[in-house]
Symmetry: C2
Subunit: 453 residues, 2 copies
């Protein structure tokens, strides 16, 4: 039995719905279908979820949301018309939205979650109606009734352990089940959504809970690429990679799947298959627990800009028990999360995303580190890019670092920092943002020039 | 004006004392002479400080220390005899020791400090007597009277800020001043020693306090070597290096100078000159604030064994604000100090000296990390060696990492981890202990084969 999830662009129009229908029907193992809200039909289009958030915000400010509501309804109506669905489907969606809009506004975060979640919920009803119209036994599943219990964190809910037990009984149901992605219900029966793009998470939870053989995630790319296609033209596609590799690659350029979405599948050891709704015959990318390392040490290269480094030096720092803990504690007080902490004997740099900082926060951090930790020097360097070179094969392959760093030297990129943990599934290079593109191209050239991944 | 410090082997015999005398007299700028206790005359010899510690421990256990005391007195007597010093010198030392032995034993740590410190204190009196015998105006300086105030931490005292002001007046005194190293006095007037080999610290404090032009540290090697001579035969000598380079090299194999000893000189910007008592015409090594980078990116390679890594992995770790701080907090609870924390996205390794651990502590640490941080995996890897490749020149030299890692690859050494901070004055490689020697030799070969440092 397979759990199969379709993203927003796969459900953006009647034409797309027909593709989805064909894909689901082509394999009798495809039983549970998780759907997103209708996404973009073309580059300038607006996602239904974004329209819904605007509606919710207008309602909260006591403005009239009619215009945006009409835009939402137009999306559903266009699909229903294209698919010749009975009128009742659209009326039910409209009634549902009007009811939600009139909901309790005393907790704005929860109100937004309630409205947002309607995108997936109503789309699931619509997709189920379409499948039934085509003569296939299909049921819409209400996450509340099915038992998808989540924590009461608006916009960042987590599935509760009991949810997995309750959802298992879905296996007994007949026909195809259409399950709305992105949200669940708290123990008090209120709607809470996962973080953005959370339909991936719903699919993974269901794959785990139902002990599926495979979790198929249909999106709009043929495969996970070995490098960002905007940096290297026509990069190699990755046929198979491990959860850990996928995770390490999840720096920008590899946001095919929601980070958190791998967790439930990973814990249950269920493989995840990335496929393209618009080209279902392409083999796609399979994410597995272990893979053979037959294709060289490196499987992919991810990179992202927008990092900075907080450099702290203090003579005899490494004798001072508690220094690192106190430093990280100060950053924690500012609510900052960091990526890496490369260090010398008397200095440490904390690498973090610079969008978390502004001039005021920077000054306050420098001040606290200087006065509380008596650091000799504290300085912040901006505009860094991080490059992750990823592959399980590195572990047993002497010379990977030599090849990568030589490639950077050849193209005259100065390495600002390097961090390679003992997992050895990745190595990180910090370079100046202006050098990012050149650096990634050079590393790609070194490892992929003559290799089939 | 120069502060000049002599180590234990430079003061181990009358013959050595004569060398010291000639060295001091050969330069009229050499005014303040800091002395250690008599050290080893030959490889199997015992240092006076070690004999004194044994005495102190015997006294504390109410055993008779006569035998050890005689061994101590024999050392002083041999020197006095060789130098034809008046009998009173030895009698004064004996009386001092007897008085110290009868001291307050209620606080054993302080008692040990009191006895230990006599090695330097009495040797300073003896050296001053020798200089006077040779017709040179010379005074023994009592650190108490001179104002070397320290914190009341037995075996790990730190100079108090007031000490620097008080010591300044030593500049006014006539003649050569012989100052005992290794200890000072608390505000209550009790003796407290610095950490072992702390005479280096005394010299540095005096150089800072007296605003010396140079701090000369005479020991028994011609220079700081670019690599451990037990790993590479006849390695290049380093003529000049910065405080930061010296500090990064202070992993084993470079313990020419006490770590803490650089701090006071560094803060006052006073250069430190390492020289050889047994070969004073050798230029030695100068430690400075800044140096020209004319000799390639790498100035030295240090390495040491006996490290382990605590590897912790947890899916989505880097989203969890506070994870790193809590992990370091657990290690702090066990009183552990760590060296580096290389990391991936979902894993972090803490590198520390394994002599801090035993099976019981390891099990307790793993248990706490698993239960408190809900880590997916915690494992400890033993028998690692760290190699520090050091040089200010690396900062502006593209390709240093490529050269170093290629050298390791050529000799088939697998790099377990890499850590290069944003200071870029060093890079660290973690390798298995069995690979250490080969790895260091390969890196040395790469950077020093054809270079004069």
């Amino acid at each position: 039995m397979k759990v199969i999830k379709f993203g927003g662009s796969s459900l953006a129009s009647g034409k797309q719905l027909e593709k989805v229908f064909q894909i689901v029907l082509s394999d009798p193992e495809r039983k549970v279908v998780v759907v997103s809200a209708p996404g973009k039909r073309f580059a300038e289009d607006t996602k239904v979820t974004d329209l819904l958030i605007e509606c919710a915000e207008q309602c909260l400010q006591n403005q009239n949301p009619t215009e945006k509501l009409e835009a939402v309804m137009e999306r559903y109506s266009a699909i229903a018309e294209e698919c010749h669905l009975p009128d009742g489907v659209i009326k039910d969606i409209f009634d549902d939205l009007v009811k939600r809009f009139a909901g309790d506004k005393s907790k704005p975060d929860r109100y937004i979650d309630l409205i947002k979640a309607s995108g997936e919920d109503n789309n699931a009803k619509l997709v189920a109606a379409y499948f039934r119209e085509r003569g296939v036994e299909t049921t819409y599943v209400d996450p509340k009734e099915a038992g998808l219990l989540v924590s009461a964190d608006p916009g960042n809910a987590q599935a509760l352990p009991e949810a997995y037990e309750r959802l298992f009984s879905l296996r007994e149901r007949q026909g195809i089940l259409i399950f709305p992605g992105f949200f669940g219900y708290s123990e008090e029966g209120e709607v809470f959504t996962f973080s953005r793009s959370g339909s991936d998470i719903t699919g993974s939870i269901l794959a785990n809970a139902l002990n599926a053989d495979l979790y198929e995630n249909f999106t709009d790319v043929d495969a996970v690429y070995s490098v960002n296609p905007s940096i290297v033209k026509k990069p190699k596609e990755i046929k198979e990679l491990t959860y850990r590799e996928m995770r390490e690659l999840s720096y920008a350029g590899f946001s095919v799947l929601h980070d958190e979405a791998l967790v439930p599948a990973f814990r249950a050891g269920i493989p995840v298959q990335i496929k393209n709704t618009n080209n279902p015959s392409a083999p796609g990318t399979r994410i597995v627990y272990e893979r053979d390392n037959t294709n060289g040490p490196v499987i992919g290269i991810a990179s992202d800009q927008g990092f900075c480094s907080i450099y702290v030096s203090k003579y005899l720092m490494n004798r001072e028990i508690g220094f690192g803990r106190k430093l990280l504690g100060i950053l924690e007080d500012f609510g900052l999360s960091y990526e890496h902490t490369p260090s010398g004997i008397d200095d440490v740099s904390v690498i973090l995303r610079e969008n978390q900082l502004d001039d005021k926060i920077e000054a306050a951090i420098i001040q606290r580190i200087k006065t509380e930790l008596h650091a000799d020097e504290v300085k912040i360097e901006h505009s860094l890019a991080l490059i992750m070179v990823v592959g399980e094969g590195m572990r047993h392959n002497v010379g990977t670092m030599a090849r990568a760093s030589k490639a950077l030297a050849r193209t005259s990129v100065n390495i600002e920092m390097i961090n390679q943990g003992s997992s050895e599934v990745s190595m990180m290079f910090g370079v100046k943002e202006v050098d990012e593109k050149r650096a990634v191209q050079a590393i790609y050239e070194e490892f992929f020039a003559a290799v089939t991944v």
